[in-house]
Subunit: 364 residues, 4 copies
Amino acid sequence: MNSVYVVPTSSPSDVSGVKQLIESGTIQAKDVIAVLGKTEGNGCVNDWTRGYSVDTLKHFFEGYLPKEDADKIVYVMSGGTEGILSPHLSVICKNDEPAGETGLEKSLAISASRTRELLPEEIGTMAQVLAVRDTVIELMKEAKIEDPKDVHFVQIKCPLIISQRVKEAAERGKKVVTEDTYESMGYSRGACALGIAIALGEVDASKVSDVSICKDYSLYSEVASTSAGVELMECEIILFGNSKEGNSKYYIEHDVMEDAIDADAVMRALDKADVGYLRTKHNEDRELVHILAKAEADPLGVVRGRRNIMHDDSDINHTRHARAVVGGVIASIVGDPMIYVSGGAEHQGPAGGGPVAVICKVKE
Amino acid sequence: MNSVYVVPTSSPSDVSGVKQLIESGTIQAKDVIAVLGKTEGNGCVNDWTRGYSVDTLKHFFEGYLPKEDADKIVYVMSGGTEGILSPHLSVICKNDEPAGETGLEKSLAISASRTRELLPEEIGTMAQVLAVRDTVIELMKEAKIEDPKDVHFVQIKCPLIISQRVKEAAERGKKVVTEDTYESMGYSRGACALGIAIALGEVDASKVSDVSICKDYSLYSEVASTSAGVELMECEIILFGNSKEGNSKYYIEHDVMEDAIDADAVMRALDKADVGYLRTKHNEDRELVHILAKAEADPLGVVRGRRNIMHDDSDINHTRHARAVVGGVIASIVGDPMIYVSGGAEHQGPAGGGPVAVICKVKE
Amino acid sequence: MNSVYVVPTSSPSDVSGVKQLIESGTIQAKDVIAVLGKTEGNGCVNDWTRGYSVDTLKHFFEGYLPKEDADKIVYVMSGGTEGILSPHLSVICKNDEPAGETGLEKSLAISASRTRELLPEEIGTMAQVLAVRDTVIELMKEAKIEDPKDVHFVQIKCPLIISQRVKEAAERGKKVVTEDTYESMGYSRGACALGIAIALGEVDASKVSDVSICKDYSLYSEVASTSAGVELMECEIILFGNSKEGNSKYYIEHDVMEDAIDADAVMRALDKADVGYLRTKHNEDRELVHILAKAEADPLGVVRGRRNIMHDDSDINHTRHARAVVGGVIASIVGDPMIYVSGGAEHQGPAGGGPVAVICKVKE
Amino acid sequence: MNSVYVVPTSSPSDVSGVKQLIESGTIQAKDVIAVLGKTEGNGCVNDWTRGYSVDTLKHFFEGYLPKEDADKIVYVMSGGTEGILSPHLSVICKNDEPAGETGLEKSLAISASRTRELLPEEIGTMAQVLAVRDTVIELMKEAKIEDPKDVHFVQIKCPLIISQRVKEAAERGKKVVTEDTYESMGYSRGACALGIAIALGEVDASKVSDVSICKDYSLYSEVASTSAGVELMECEIILFGNSKEGNSKYYIEHDVMEDAIDADAVMRALDKADVGYLRTKHNEDRELVHILAKAEADPLGVVRGRRNIMHDDSDINHTRHARAVVGGVIASIVGDPMIYVSGGAEHQGPAGGGPVAVICKVKE
């Protein structure tokens, strides 16, 4: 059965929650295809909590699996738990055991994989867009999702450019898209999102070229969630959707926040999933398992006609401001701060907004 | 008539909105009793945007009023516009012109004044509690509010302790409550809040002593909003309530947020005020003018059972995290980021929560 | 006589030191041509201490001079007093009173002025380079300095690009050099430095074009010190040099730091000025009045072959790291932390390094 | 032979330098008694680079040694490489191979161990002072150092108090010394330093009690360097000195910086070691291997009579300011930024100052 379990962490190296899932027999280590988490660093360039968590998880799974199998698991950590956001890990499992009677026409379908390693000069360019596009198309097949509209969330961890990689490219006579490390995170996230958008038919491939990336924000995916990190050179992708062959008690829906305070979009997503939320619990048979969203500081520094200072703050990066806000908004609706909110939503939803997805479950 | 106008600012020295109010004849400089604003600094010790804004406003009003009258206006600036919060000024006016027919039984009553200057060693002690208590009682009288339950928001700007003031006290053989400047902000805010609570009968005076301050958080005011700043040694107080003799088209209500994501409390306050809000506009005759709230990082680092990192973040102070969250939550309900959210809610609402007040108006 | 006085400040609005200079008769308000200061903000985009200090100084001088004369004074504030750096103001005066017998062949010559206001799209381009070049050439004449080698420090305060200015330019169909505000500070500083370098013959004009700015760091001035701020649209320039017609007991020398820890350069500058410093006091007749330097994080993140993290730190901007270091190095040599160290040295000295100037005085 | 090797790191999980030492046969894994490093986090509460580095090193040594032996190695990571400071690891080795002819009367003697685990309520109290004292006395014996004056540097990594530990203590009816996590780091460092001072006879035991800790700064050790971290509950101690039985080509000397810019103290330490430094290379037979220092923001915010803003900066913690300064000062003297500077020097040298030690070697 395809399944998702969310466990709290007390630090980037805390795997006790995952251990408990395995030791109690709730899940089996061999079924884990991906671990998606929020760690408590700054979510920016020098956030070592992501790598720390991934290294600790790998060592942990090596205790249960052959090293090569532990390495195959896709570990995606997103840094930054500002405000009320609560550090956690989502463990994503897949096996052939039947889900049983669920009453769902379509249920959760998941797959995870990696693109090839990119060269520094490919980051933030069409080369990255196309590599992601190809892997997303494969992942849809693997998840047995036929209609791209059944894909509701595609999470990518992608590389960024640091000084050393600039030099490396220069030595081969190549130029990178930007030498500013923090800025390169945006380009990488944006290229991934456009790759997803093309794969899912949300954006016409002919409209996208190197110059569109982080420039033409009218091009976007409604289901992309991409996050950059220093610790890899390939793109690691987890795809979530619903399928008739989903074999799960779980299912997923999504909507798109138009801006950082678009509570309506969150409630629409919950309504589509027919799951109860805090103020209007209306379906006792369903349970909210997880909620995943992207947060972004509006590029013009304006929300609902009001100026904000997120882009002018030289003490706190704008991605940190944005995550704190979106986390608060969503948690105030679902009544739970242990939600996944990732920053920097270039080409992921409209400018200043971003996708929000809900993973739910038929209660037993 | 008692009235409140809210204008956006483009920087801490932008008084163009206030100028426009005066030049257009909407208000008269002589009627202004207080200006309450959010400025875009860090809201912590080295936030100079508060003083910059106050100095600029004083100079501005000296262009319209004799210097002594410009000095009498109470200027209260609260620093920190994290996330979507939008820098602004609220201009609070009072004159004898009749409000006309409003249909309101009680309407907005306001008053503003200052305590005496405190000595450094009095900050955060019963001396401060009692000075505030006495001034609040006077301000109620001045506002013609008989029932303390009709007081809905008391805003105080209070002093803090810096190295120089520690020395000054030491030279007189006196000890300050803490030599940690950032910490002293909390003590000063807490003492003010307890002074308000005693004045309004929310807390029994006999229960409060020096050791209660910033220790026993079961003692609190539901309507206190206090904010510390380096730029003064007295406490500047603005009191808002409703009165039969209010002479206004405006009125105020409040409720108390139990934690940073307590959207229900915000909606209850709006319901009490019978004003439409974003998702359920239900009274076309009323208009929301302003919303004022206190934000606080939960002292135990836990919201709804989930750990957060606000108190462990050595890069961003917890007050900044908390304002970003509460700002997002409230703005997502009222659809406007130009709201007043001030950080650090010691003895202002329950631990981790804080008061939220709404100022509304009968439409013309 | 041309003279320079340095006074400490206790906050960005503290003018008591300047007041004391005037009230004691040490200087006359009418002789002040410029005030150059270090204020205690972050020195980055949202540093309001610069504007706060300038506004306060203008109001202060309006108490002594006609408004138009108070406005003519060039006020240049550089934000950021990291580490041991101590906030202060340097008051620069000029009058015809004879300096008397000094034994100096050439002595301090100073002049100050402004370029025209720049358009947002001119910032960081040749338009800015040329505007600065022209004004520097005029200022040399005004200071009666014939040989460009006698110019030892040129301080410029220059504008930067913010969202509003991007829009403004866009409305006229113009594109700015970068939409990233923090980045635009570097372009503006760099263009000014190249303008100085051309004016003084340090760099051949034919080698400089739009694409050189913040790209070709082999082009630089040895005496430029430029600093960007949100509070102006022109470039404000103070030029310091020595002249036979200098009329002063003061004089200035300089050298160039090759990197942030180049103590030798500091000592060479002190040696040229024949003034005693901490470890080797060797000229009892001379006195060190002030020391001015530029600090820069090495663009490649390497100093003396060792990696540093200044460019990868998403919590603290690299200019702040660099000022802390250079301030410490210089203060450890001269034994005084009240020195002027300004951040971001694009085209001001070699990459990673910067100019250091010493203003000295013949003792009376 | 007792020896110390310093290798650069490219990230907190980079062990390639240590690997190279082992693979090249320069050192043997079994001889490593301690690894002391600077990692690139903020050096404050939420600095996970320390734990990341320690975990990576343990895993690394498990590849060469039985797990219990890898665990016995004392790993002390100090976070914070502000300014030009360069992340690195010092590998400290000990074996019986003879050092050969060195011409040194006394040479490097080293030992490393741990105290028992402390309870949260013991942190920052006499219980910690005494535990440290006892272990230091044992370590002197182990290192065969008879005269406490031959001890030149004692490095301790000690625990701090976090919310969870406050609760834990409260559940046993115990109170911790402070509930402020950042503040607890200071108490823990201070108690360790006093433990060292008593063990070495620098401070009379009778003068020290709970109330002296972080209060009476006239009590201090000249050779203590203590650093707090969230990742342990015991105190890990590395002791460096010289002994007739030292068996080494290495030796160590120290001096005490009176404030953050006390370059003279650094030069005195180098002089004692008779090793060449940048400006006055005077002994070709000796080589500087490493330099270790403590940095501290002056508690009164004043250096050489000049105000600084380290304690008033709510954006950057004062320990970060201080490390940047002291790193710059020392690197400007020795010409190498790969030095060990650790922040927070409570009872480690005089208030505002701190110890500085140099490890040198007789060249081969």
